[in-house]
């Protein structure tokens, strides 16, 4: 049907109540404005209707979203349907598996890379510590100790840099623990060895005694060793002192007679000063009650020098700190004592650093889970809020809940139009149009040659997409003999309701729908009649043909439909 200009003016006059001449004048003004704008290359927008624009010589009209939705209200909300569902279902699985595998691989790669570095550092530190132990096993090699201490000091920056690696903290701490264990175990072994060596003191094996001399002479030897080292260092004989055990053995062999001579009062000892005499006295009177604080202070450094392995020194930080604190208060009038104390202080400092690092790391360890623990909770809370918000938005958008600003205005306007149609006293064009549409539906039942007109009332797209659809499809539970489960002809069966069907009529009048169904059944079609309840438009009655396993089968079957039915149909899932 064509509405020409004069009929349009009549409709506008009836609808707006404005006089016909005024309507014509308004309309001519509007047309002139639009043409003027288009000639000037401008677009012209009518609020709530659309935009007229000129692109080249073509004039386009772009309806507003509301108008486009209202015109397409029968199909609005219908989304494209994938035809290759089975294929799609199969394909993503391997990709998901791959995706599951890849992240783990990536995670492993990410983790192992930083972890390997700490392990290498750990190995290095182990080597350093073990060398320390090895060096410490020889109490006479003082320069080695110092060099080891220097190495440890030099390694500190690396350790500090290594600490910056977050994942490496635990490893470093473990390595330190391992180092301490190694050192501790090494000390234990040392002590055991020393005990064994004490038992073997009477043995005539001089090499073993040279490597690990009698504890009585150890301190004296170390003192002499230090002094000799100092002397030799002054003389520049570093090589002899820095050499390893084999060379040290020779040195000890040379030193031992001197030490033995020193154990006995000798002029050499007198020449070496009062300190050595005091050291000898201290070593001889360790167990005596007359030990003064100064002597204790002197003993500790000797023990550390002799073994630097003492369990008490490593484990008792307080003693070391106390020693360090007492040193300036003690009678340090003698310079050599201070010289002997200095390397001990370095060693204590390095130990203190290690212990402080351990303490820091131990204090850091419990903080990590505390800081990480709230994060997932917050994420879950945020995710929960987002899901709830999305759900509410979805309910509002699809019209389940009328939320101003979220529910599309098109649905509201359609609802208003339907409500106006239900009121017989109103005189809007919407009423007339809907009334005409209903009339057209009734005519369509009598004249099936116009399938376009038969779909009168709106099929609620919202109800299509939601699960609120209540269908009244009458099907049989059992498949009749000689009939396939799926097909265009026959009787609807319940087991085939999981498939697709071809909707040919969507009517608001149940009687008309029943009539269409009867007529199509008489032609041999498998006819489904479904009631689609709609809160906005009332009940719709859909007449559809066939039950098909897939949409592809339905599309193939729809091509064979009569031209009357194939003019305006759509395939949908049986609801």
């Amino acid at each position: 049907m064509h509405i020409d200009h004069s009929k349009l003016v009549e409709l506008l006059t009836e609808t707006s109540g404005i006089e016909k001449e005024t309507v014509e004048k308004y309309l001519s003004e509007l047309v002139a404005e639009i043409n003027e704008a288009l000639e000037e290359g401008e677009a012209y927008e009518v609020d709530g209707f659309g935009v007229f624009s000129q692109i080249g010589e073509n004039t386009l009209f772009i309806p507003t979203d509301d108008l486009a939705t209202e015109i397409n209200y029968k199909y609005a909300g219908m989304s494209p349907i994938l035809l290759d569902e089975d294929r799609d279902k199969g394909e993503p699985e391997p990709t998901d598996d791959e995706a599951d595998e890849d992240p783990f691989a990536g995670l492993l790669d990410d983790i192992t890379e930083p972890e390997q570095k700490p392990e290498s550092i750990k190995a290095e530190s182990d080597d350093i510590d073990t060398t320390d132990v090895d060096d410490l096993s020889d109490p006479f090699v003082l320069e080695d100790e110092e060099s080891a201490e220097e190495e440890v000091v030099n390694d500190d920056p690396e350790e500090e840099g290594f600490k910056e690696i977050p994942n490496g903290i635990n490893y470093r701490s473990e390595s330190e623990e391992d180092d301490s264990r190694v050192l501790f175990s090494g000390l234990l072994e040392m002590d055991e060895d020393e005990g064994d060596e004490k038992a073997e003191e009477d043995a005539e094996d001089q090499e073993e005694t040279d490597l690990q001399p009698d504890p009585e002479f150890r301190e004296l030897e170390t003192d002499l060793g230090e002094e000799k080292n100092e002397d030799s260092f002054d003389l520049g004989d570093d090589d002899t002192l820095s050499e390893k055990e084999t060379e040290d053995e020779a040195e000890v062999d040379v030193q031992k007679p001197a030490l033995e001579a020193e154990a006995e009062p000798s002029p050499e000892a007198k020449d070496k000063g009062v300190e050595e005499d005091q050291d000898v006295e201290l070593s001889e009177t360790e167990t005596s009650d007359e030990i003064n604080d100064e002597e204790e202070i002197e003993e500790d450094p000797f023990e550390t020098l002799a073994g630097d392995n003492g369990e008490e020194e490593i484990e008792d930080e307080d003693d070391i700190i106390a020693i360090k604190d007492e040193e300036p208060e003690s009678q340090d009038t003698e310079e050599e004592q201070e010289k002997e104390v200095i390397p001990i202080i370095k060693n204590v400092a390095s130990e203190k650093k290690r212990n402080k690092k351990k303490l820091k790391k131990e204090t850091k360890k419990p903080k990590e889970p505390v800081s990480k623990a709230p994060a997932p909770v917050l994420l879950w809370v945020i995710l929960f809020i987002v899901i709830i918000g999305g759900g509410i938005y979805g309910l509002g958008y699809f019209g389940v809940v009328d939320i101003p600003g979220i529910t599309p205005a098109g649905n509201q306007s359609q609802q208003m139009a339907i409500q106006q149609n239900e009121e017989p006293e109103s005189e809007t064009t919407t009423q007339q149009s809907l009334q005409e549409a209903t009339d057209a539906d009734q005519q369509a039942t009598e004249e099936p040659d116009e399938p376009e007109e038969t779909t009168s009332q709106a099929e609620d797209p919202v109800q299509e997409t939601t699960a609120d659809v209540e269908s009244t499809i009458q099907t049989r539970a059992a498949i009749p003999e000689g009939q396939e489960e799926y097909g265009m002809e026959g009787v609807p069966v319940e087991s085939a309701n999981d498939g697709y069907t071809i909707v040919v009529f969507s009517l608001s009048n149940q009687q008309n729908a029943e009539a269409q169904k009867t007529e199509l059944e008489s032609e041999g079609y498998r006819v489904l009649l479904a009631e689609i309840p709609s809160q906005q438009y009332g009940s719709l009655w859909r007449v559809s043909l066939g039950q098909f396993e897939s949409m592809r089968d339905a599309a193939i079957a729809a091509e064979d439909l009569d031209t009357v039915l194939s003019g305006n149909y759509f395939i949908t899932k049986i609801q």
Partner: protein, 87 residues
């Protein structure tokens, strides 16, 4: 597309163009409703000097997406505007 000119409301029309009798918002709203309803009823609406609004129905179409998936697009009712042949 050049600048966008809006259909003036009653007040702005009077203020800017100083016209005593002009289009009103009610008229523009009614025009939109009438054309919409007629297009919904599959009627074409002609406006002299401007063009014709035609209802267009797009059938359900099977297409292949860019990713290779076959998709059945739903049917669609649209409005098309045909400019008047001024010659």
């Amino acid at each position: 597309m050049g600048r966008l000119r809006r259909a003036p409301s009653a007040n702005s029309w009077r203020d800017n163009h100083k016209v005593l009798i002009t289009m009103t918002d009610a008229f523009l709203e009614t025009l939109g409703i009438v054309i919409r309803d007629q297009v919904i009823m599959k009627n074409s609406v002609q406006i002299n000097g401007l063009g014709t609004f035609n209802p267009v129905h797009k059938n359900q179409v099977q297409e292949k997406n860019a990713d290779g998936q076959n998709v059945m697009l739903p049917p669609k009712d649209m409005i098309e505007f045909t400019v008047e042949n001024k010659s």
